[in-house]
Point group: D2
Chain length 138, copies 4
């Protein structure tokens, strides 16, 4: 699979991530990084980044890492824990790492850190791997 | 606490939810509903609603239900499981129900259903309840 | 599948559950109940039931409900939240209900209540369904 | 706090862990290791270690690491994902590491590996830290 083309595909076609300013910046099979600069549109009622924005950033990295093996991988379940607030102007990076891979399932840990290296949140996702190829989609 | 004013506050100030077309439509202490009509901007690379959009909708209902007691409640951790795809045009409702409440913590189940009554996803969130009042914020 | 025989099989062969006083008392495809009377051996350092004992009881109901369809179902991931303490002498019931079923995966909610009807803990488990039949095992 | 005395306390008083052959082998504030040699009593119906036994081992390490700061810490919620089967004779080690600590809450990752260094399962737990001291208990 052409990973550069796959990165472009995901950054164009994941419209929820794209329209909220998030993009995949690095991807290999089982590993990916996604990035976001926090702006006012990402905030919740108490002026910190909304949990859903953090989840979306982590989910983008999870989707990139899990689909980069070549099979369509869909999320079954994910857990996120929130540690420190993300604030306007923060550059957040979500880094997904595969911790288990079987024929049909896979598990990923995603750390979200800010540009000072502080751990903002942790995400863990389980993917189901279909039999169809992702590169038929682009 | 004036719940009508609180609903208006959350719908205006949760800018991530608002800018993505989501709003709280009902809120009482421990209970809330939030709604979203899925459009193209909510989709992922395989043309179904992105997991982060579903999470955000559930998180909005969770935030409304948990803060409606009057104390500022922040999410510690949440788990979401994905069952059926949400598609363009679907009207999704996230309904949060409190399953446990202590002085400092609380737990909520959130069901996301579509306008045919199909269960799309389930979310479970744990909140930490601070000592400050939410109505000082508005 | 002979569900009475399956119940006997699980109650005999799940040696971790059996040796800790837990048993399946009811099982149908997608639904199961398991029971435990809390005694001293289930307690932790602060004299309430250990989280692992609650998890095991829920996991037993989850295993029964998910395998009762006839295919071997194995747990991929599970989340448990703890609400109220379980105490010596409490009769705890874990009731598993299927919330989603696909060809290869399934999701179950399990409520653990005591004999006064108080919700002690909630468990959510995701199973992967293999192609082999469970009744070849007994 | 006398950590040697605390370790002895937890190994004696967590009767569910002790009666199932599990013990804390190392503990410092925020960090702990617990160990188990898998025997027949830990198995489930398909002859691998029961998920509840793995959860209990991880929960023991989580309890040790979180209480070692000196305040009573209780589990609010935990998630465990299962990767590889644990088999009779395996020596399993659960290693808990703190990833976040606030005045009233804390978060821990626990890796369970076997004696060949294979990752068997991953656990993530959130604790609520009470105001009472754990060393008043022993």
């Amino acid at each position: 699979m052409d990973l550069e083309k796959f990165k472009k595909f995901i950054n164009t076609n994941d419209r929820f991530a794209a329209s909220n300013g998030m993009s995949v910046i690095e991807v290999r099979p089982g590993i990916a990084k996604a990035s976001l600069t926090v702006c006012e549109n990402h905030l919740n009622g108490v002026n910190i980044i909304q949990g859903g924005a953090l989840f979306t950033l982590a989910d983008l990295a999870f989707a990139a890492a899990s689909n980069a093996h070549g099979l369509v991988a869909v999320g079954l379940t994910a857990t996120i824990s929130f540690f420190k607030p993300g604030l306007t102007g923060d550059i957040l990076t979500a880094e997904a790492k595969e911790v288990n891979l079987t024929a049909r399932t896979a598990c990923y840990n995603v750390d979200i850190t800010n540009n000072s290296g502080v751990l903002i949140a942790q995400f863990n996702g389980i993917a189901y791997r279909k039999k169809e190829s992702i590169d038929e989609k682009f």
